[in-house]
């Protein structure tokens, strides 16, 4: 079973709009990370947020973490066609945990 679940499963937006996707997880975590995957190829690490952090920014990305609700959100501002991809959240459970538990992902399509 997967630790995280992303919502929505799919998202279609116009170029320039913002895209928001959510991730819920089941057990207490150490870190939560977001990855992007283009066309079923390798995963690209986007951002990591630690369990004691609430918000983090990286360029056009904004990630929030609410440990009381066991949820996280990823916001992509001013989307571009190149943002079309699947986005996955992944959690690790312990300090120096050796594995990531991924959700099923959100597929984002940015229309020109």
């Amino acid at each position: 079973s997967q630790q995280g679940e992303e919502d929505p499963q799919a998202l279609s937006i116009q170029e320039g709009e913002n895209a928001t996707m959510n991730c819920s997880y089941k057990t207490s975590i150490n870190n939560l990370q977001w990855y992007r995957q283009n066309s079923g190829r390798g995963l690209v690490h986007l951002i990591l947020i630690r369990s004691n952090e609430r918000e983090k920014h990286s360029g056009r990305l904004r990630v929030t973490l609410d440990t009381s609700k066991k949820s996280s959100s990823l916001l992509i501002t001013a989307s571009r066609a190149a943002d079309t991809a699947s986005y996955f959240c992944a959690t690790d459970l312990l300090p120096n945990d050796y594995k990531l538990s991924f959700g099923a992902g959100t597929t984002v399509t940015v229309r020109a």
Partner: protein, 114 residues
């Protein structure tokens, strides 16, 4: 500097055969992890190796095995292939054992079992 490289990129095998997938981590990275991604799902953890020792194993049958070499490259072996083994196999490397800095993934090997 090269990223994580995996070979081959695509592979077609017949049920019952054996397959070996290869991964070269980023130079200086001592940790290699393997993940299986079935179409439409997120990656599932198979193994992690750090400093040439197995440090973690996911919920996969004994048909799956792996090893890490002195140069930190790694092989994933799958015996007695089943149709359900068809998936994208991803290798990830990191500087340290844990996930604290994020992982760098390769482009994967697409395995099709017929």
């Amino acid at each position: 500097d090269a990223g994580v490289t995996q070979s081959p990129t695509h592979l077609i095998k017949t049920r019952g055969q054996h397959v070996t997938l290869r991964c070269s981590p980023i130079s200086g990275h001592k940790s290699v992890s393997w993940y299986q991604q079935v179409l439409g799902q997120g990656p599932q953890f198979i193994f992690q190796y750090y400093e040439k020792e197995e440090r973690g194993r996911g919920n996969f049958p004994d048909r799956f095995s792996a090893r890490q070499f002195p140069n930190y490259s790694s092989e994933l072996n799958v015996n007695a292939l089943l149709l359900g083994d068809s998936a994208l196999y991803l290798c990830a490397s990191s500087l340290v054992q844990g996930a604290v800095y994020g992982y760098t993934f390769g482009s994967g090997t697409r395995l099709t079992v017929v």
